[in-house]
Symmetry: C2
């Protein structure tokens, strides 16, 4: 069972509720967010997740490199990831501070470079998240997987990698080649759908997998072929999803995952029961 | 004066009103749309524009290649362009018919190829418009200038080229290189801005130049350096712009154009009065 509940999918659940919801639904992994972790306290959160037997597929999120100096906050995020047993910190690049997009992109590169040593020291990997160009101005100036891999490749693969999030990269020309190129640098695979008409608040425009236009078989097969063995996070920002009872959302998510994603995670042969608990992605370091 | 009023910017104006509005504002070119042209009749429209002494910078739009067979309608659009004295037909690729984005992109390539001979016969050039990935699902599966040039390059440069629209491509990694690569294939340069927060209706989310995040100097210099000598269309889809009186919109547009775009159209030297009426882009054929 490689399905992971990203906390944002059930945004109205506290961390204890999310942990309980995973256990009740038989979900073995969770993608944590810093804010709800802080709400219960870092040590309590770490113990809660550990006691429930959950893997932490990632911690969201560091980054926001383009407006001011967030280095210290990102190092703090690395500390939190280590304490939580998350070996991946998701980095949201940040948007424009002015109209200089090339300059903003350079600032992301520089800031990632400055985090390599702190990340290595803590045994946490940095996962650069390319974001749909709809967010280029206000949230993430790294717009393609190709661009994210370009930045990551300047650093050792055991420290810096990328997030493959279907919502952000499904439209990218040549994306299958880029997924193959990313290879062992794929540190997180997140799934949600692109729905139309796009909801009015673009930040909340992600759909439940299966509700939109994305071919999950195509992308999942590529991610699997690239060697990714980690968890698959369902991460949905959507007001309608958030308004629904968490248990229903988790049940729908698990059903859609089983139908649309899981069959494509092992491209060469059907998964047997013996393969039910695959290892996390291997750590090269 | 290379400023052109794309009819969609003053969507509530009929064709006669738009023609009169251009003349009153000293604007020498207009980007026509098929629907308002049809409202007054093709021959009347052609005569009106000709009598007013306006250049027709482009006709919008053909395309929509991905849903059914629109070849005959596109040939009709080429006939209309020729009758109007427009030597450029803008092609909006069309969105997804199903979840097969690679297939949809191939259908665009194939459909463009089928239009090359009809276009050449009529002396009209085909301008493929790459569209912001926000529209990949429902409007245009060609998502980058790189992709549009890839398709265009399979055909003679005197027949098939691309549209550079700042709204669609401002975020594209490597876009300056792609503009240089496009070179003589740049058949139209359209400007509008990316504003945040994005208006609720994404189709109407374009801002007046200067209101948003786009660096028009950067893109305009690149387009000029690529050799583009044609008109610059202001094309804005925005409910607020449409609700304002057309005269005000045209006045704002002309002022912003003079401030943000025109100074960068001649990168090597300031323009002199003798250069005030540059030639249209040269026809290679």
């Amino acid at each position: 069972m490689r399905l992971s509940l990203n906390q944002r999918t059930t945004a109205n659940w506290t961390l204890p509720e999310a942990v309980a919801g995973c256990v009740a639904a038989g979900i073995e992994a969770i993608g944590l967010w810093r804010e709800p972790v802080a709400d219960v306290g870092l040590e309590t959160a770490a113990r809660m997740v550990r006691d429930a037997g959950l893997r932490v597929s990632s911690l969201c999120r560091g980054g926001f490199f383009t407006s001011g100096d967030n280095h210290a906050d990102n190092v703090a995020a690395l500390d939190e990831a280590a304490a939580l047993g998350a070996d991946v910190l998701v980095l949201v690049p940040g948007g424009l501070a002015d109209r200089d997009i090339d300059g903003a992109r350079q600032r992301v590169s520089d800031a990632v470079a400055a985090l390599v040593e702190p990340a290595r020291d803590r045994g946490v990997r940095l996962a650069i998240e390319p974001m749909h160009p709809i967010f280029a101005a206000d949230r993430g100036v790294i717009s393609t997987l190709a661009q994210a891999v370009d930045i990551a490749e300047a650093h050792p693969s055991d420290v810096v990698g990328v997030v493959v999030d279907t919502f952000h990269i499904w439209w990218e020309p040549g994306v299958l080649d880029q997924i193959a190129r990313a290879g062992e640098r794929i540190l997180a695979y997140q799934v949600s759908d692109w729905i139309t008409p796009l909801p009015a608040d673009t930040l909340l425009s992600r759909g439940m997998i299966g509700d939109g236009h994305i071919d999950f078989a195509r992308l999942t097969r590529a991610v699997a072929a690239a060697g990714y063995l980690g968890d698959v996070e369902v991460e949905i920002f959507n007001a309608d999803v958030w308004a629904a009872p968490g248990e229903e959302v988790v049940a729908t998510m698990a059903r859609r995952y089983a139908e649309l994603v899981e069959p494509h995670l092992t491209p060469c042969a059907p998964r047997s029961a013996a393969q039910a608990t695959p290892p996390r992605h291997t750590r090269a370091g």
